[in-house]
Symmetry: none
Subunit: 239 residues, 2 copies
DNA sequence: TTGAAAGTTTAGTGTAGTCTAATGTTGACG
DNA sequence: CGTCAACATTAGACTACACTAAACTTTCAA
């Protein structure tokens, strides 16, 4: 039984693994990941993405709808979750066992995740007591490729002072999507609620770590779905 | 301060790092490393080596005498020793901190050595107490790029009665490594030669201090590299 | 409804690495 | 001392990945 991740994932190049990981993050809620977004996150030119997209669809890791974007197949998703498991466990291991501080651990994990074996990752997990969450509060996928889906709350429903990670923007309206993007309110962003006026008045958000304020009315706040972020002494470094 | 290894070694590809490492090992006593030997050790075709040799000489990492072989430049040697330091410290860390057994660490270290940062390696070294030898008994180059040159003799070449410290097992073959380990023939062990049959016959070893005998054929004896121990003293026990 | 901006893909090039097949060089031995 | 086997190199092709420039779609707004 038991298609293991190793079985599912014969030999992917580091580059391919990176693409799968960002496609996973970009197509979080079942949507499409856009070429230009992938390019921006990997810091490559858009045509490089088009080229890779072609290769990845040929090997069955993603599905491509021209001019629309890409989605992971089941196989691609397994491979992506394997990388995310590696990344999060490496970050945890480096901070807890080797004294790394939270700010510098990301780059190290980013390189190591392509080189470690499943055995090493499992040994590290065991050494850490098989943790379920990384220090950001993000769930660590299991060796079998399962991940706990975060419970999302609307920004309109949380109390002042709560720290949040924006996870989804609950609209398809292009005008609103654009507006949110202009405000820097895109999935992945960290924020806190600094103020809320009574009688369904506007909510003031503070972006983390810049502290820049954003004011949104209740109608818009209802569209912003967030995950509550546990407070750590490490702050909110990048993932 | 002072030229660090990092300074000396901007960005080498994993492939280049592998070439430098095997060239180091093949040109141990100042000789030339032959194209075909490099090809055999890296499991690539000889023309691939010729191509790489061209690139490496252009970047000043090796010197090439056509139809003779190659030698490392000072810069190439520094880069090679940096990789060897990484490899040996990784092997040690994996065995001591994560429960790997000696037979299986090699492959893992082989991949990781290209991905770890100098900082991580130094942290691992510190966690291990800045060890001088790896699990095979090989000396670990310092962060500054110095390596202890050990004068080792093969067990097949020393005369009966000589007192020896086993320092190095000259094979990567897991089956043989396991066999030697089962026999108690691991680096650091003290032994004497109690008997040797003529005509390339087997050698009988006496372990110190237990006196337990071990019999090894000439082929295996050739793999056991030892340091001659002048007087019995302490300090060879554990690593 | 149309046209321009934004975004995507194609076309063509470059680099690092691999390979096989063909050619060149060296050195050992008859 | 010449020949031939062993070894090394060149020649030429292939893959994966990147890039720029140009062409093609889609979207949005006047």
């Amino acid at each position: 039984m038991h298609a293991t991740l190793r079985d599912a994932n014969p030999e992917l190049t580091p580059s391919v693994e990176d693409y799968l990981k960002v496609i996973y993050h970009l197509s979080n809620q079942g949507g499409f990941a856009a070429t230009s977004d992938i390019a921006a996150m990997l810091d490559v030119a858009p045509p490089s993405v088009s080229g890779m997209v072609k290769r990845l669809s040929e090997t069955g890791l993603i599905e491509h709808v021209p001019y629309r974007g890409v989605q992971l197949t089941a196989q691609g998703r397994r491979a992506a979750l394997r990388m995310i498991r590696r990344h999060r466990l490496l970050e945890l291991y480096l901070t807890q066992q080797l004294g790394y501080d939270w700010g510098s651990v990301h780059a190290e994990a980013e390189r190591l995740e392509h080189a470690v074996s499943d055995e090493l990752i499992d040994r590290m997990a065991r050494a850490l007591g098989d943790p379920q969450y990384d220090p950001h509060g993000d769930p660590i996928p299991t060796a079998a490729g399962e991940i706990e889906e975060a419970e999302l709350v609307s920004l309109a429903d949380v109390s002042v002072g709560t720290k949040l990670e924006l996870r989804q923007v609950g609209t398809q309206d292009p005008a609103r999507l654009r507006y949110f993007a202009e405000q820097g309110l895109t999935p992945g962003v960290l924020l806190t609620i600094t103020d809320r006026q009574p009688f369904n008045g506007p909510t003031t958000i503070g972006l983390v770590p810049s502290g820049d304020p954003r004011v949104v009315g209740r109608e818009l706040a209802l569209l912003l779905w967030c995950r509550e972020v546990p407070i750590t002494d490490h702050g909110y470094a990048s993932r």
